[in-house]
Amino acid sequence: MDTDQLIRSLAADNTHRAPRVGAMLTMALLVAAPLSILIFVTFLGVRPDVMSAMHNPFFDMKFAVTLSLAIPAIIISLHLSRPEALMRGWGWLLLLPVGLLAVAIGSEAMMAPAMPMTMRLVGKNSRWCMLAIPAMSLPLLAGALFGLRHGAPSRPALAGALAGLLSAGLAATLYASHCTDDSPLFVATWYTLATALVTAIGAVVGSKVLRY
């Protein structure tokens, strides 16, 4: 088939309209979310003292941190799904959760410690945290990668890493309502490790499946 012939067939297919990447990502995440929620209700569930915990600013802070990761990661992953997009000017959005955590750690340090630092850091749930966040992330990660496959990222591994960040951010939001460790030190350590793991998986898988 010569190039003129190929062009003729492409022009004939111009009537075909594909949905935007944002629509595909939203749909894929909505399909994946029930699976993650199922893992949550089956194995974890909301902590029993959630009503009183809500009055603890450090409990609420966990959601601010995880959502300030998930939402910018969604925005950046959509941005990167355009072939000409650069990371430049967007990366700082990912510093949002880091900044929030730093402020939280600072304010906890200024208060009279309720527990010794090592206990706040290690907590009671570190092993669960390292297991539950990646486990709940996986369906969301698969959904995010499926949705982003519809795009045309120039750097598939980077786009895959963003898919990892957004799914870990969403999974950590669920996990935060279960976990009784509210110290920002705990969040900064274990949530970050779990997120890094999911991000690495996203980058590796993304480098394969997000090529177009």
Partner: protein
């Protein structure tokens, strides 16, 4: 050059609004530029230029299947050159070379520089033969025999909708096979 790129953006806007003729004109207008860049990339990698046409066709397929990622408020050329650059890098890598491709390779093309198509378009043709019969028939009919969707539907006693579906699936399958082979 500015004028050329503005013209492309205008054509692409019309194409996205459903003007098939504008889309056809646009693809024909960008092809010589893509061809020149593909040749330059191959030359720089020490590869014979006769594979340029395979790369051009791969770029055109990617442009077609990913055109929903183009923001109609943005100029068309940077989007096009980004896709072309990625496809060129992929193609050269598959041929065993690591090379760096400058975005300028595309933008630099002089208006007078319109190399002729070279004969070898082996990859698309080879992959075409691996498609399911129906997709291959429809693609052949529309591309090679320049039949319309309507005539193709009559020829194979299909509905026009079924022809459109087979055409699109055929193009998508072709692209996937070229990427993964």
């Amino acid at each position: 050059m500015r004028g050329r790129e503005d013209e492309w953006t205008g054509l692409m806007r019309s194409a996205m609004a459903g003007d098939d003729a504008a889309y056809h004109r646009l693809l024909r207008a960008v092809t010589p530029v893509l061809r020149a860049a593909a040749r330059r990339g191959l030359a720089r990698a020490g590869q014979p230029p006769d594979q340029a046409e395979d790369i051009v066709q791969e770029i055109l397929l990617a442009v077609h299947l990913k055109r929903h990622t183009w923001d109609s408020e943005a100029p068309f050329a940077p989007w096009l050159f980004a896709i072309a650059r990625n496809k060129l890098i992929d193609a050269l890598r598959r041929r065993g070379r690591r090379v760096f491709v400058n975005i300028e390779d595309f933008a630099e093309t002089l208006p007078g520089e319109t190399p002729q198509e070279t004969a070898s378009t082996g990859e698309v043709t080879a992959q075409l033969n691996t498609l399911p019969q129906r997709q291959r028939d429809v693609l052949q009919s529309i591309a090679v025999d320049s039949a319309s969707i309507k005539d193709t539907a009559t020829k194979f006693s299909m509905s026009e909708g079924a022809v459109r579906v087979a055409l699109h699936r055929g193009l998508a399958a072709l692209t996937a096979k070229l990427r993964d082979h």
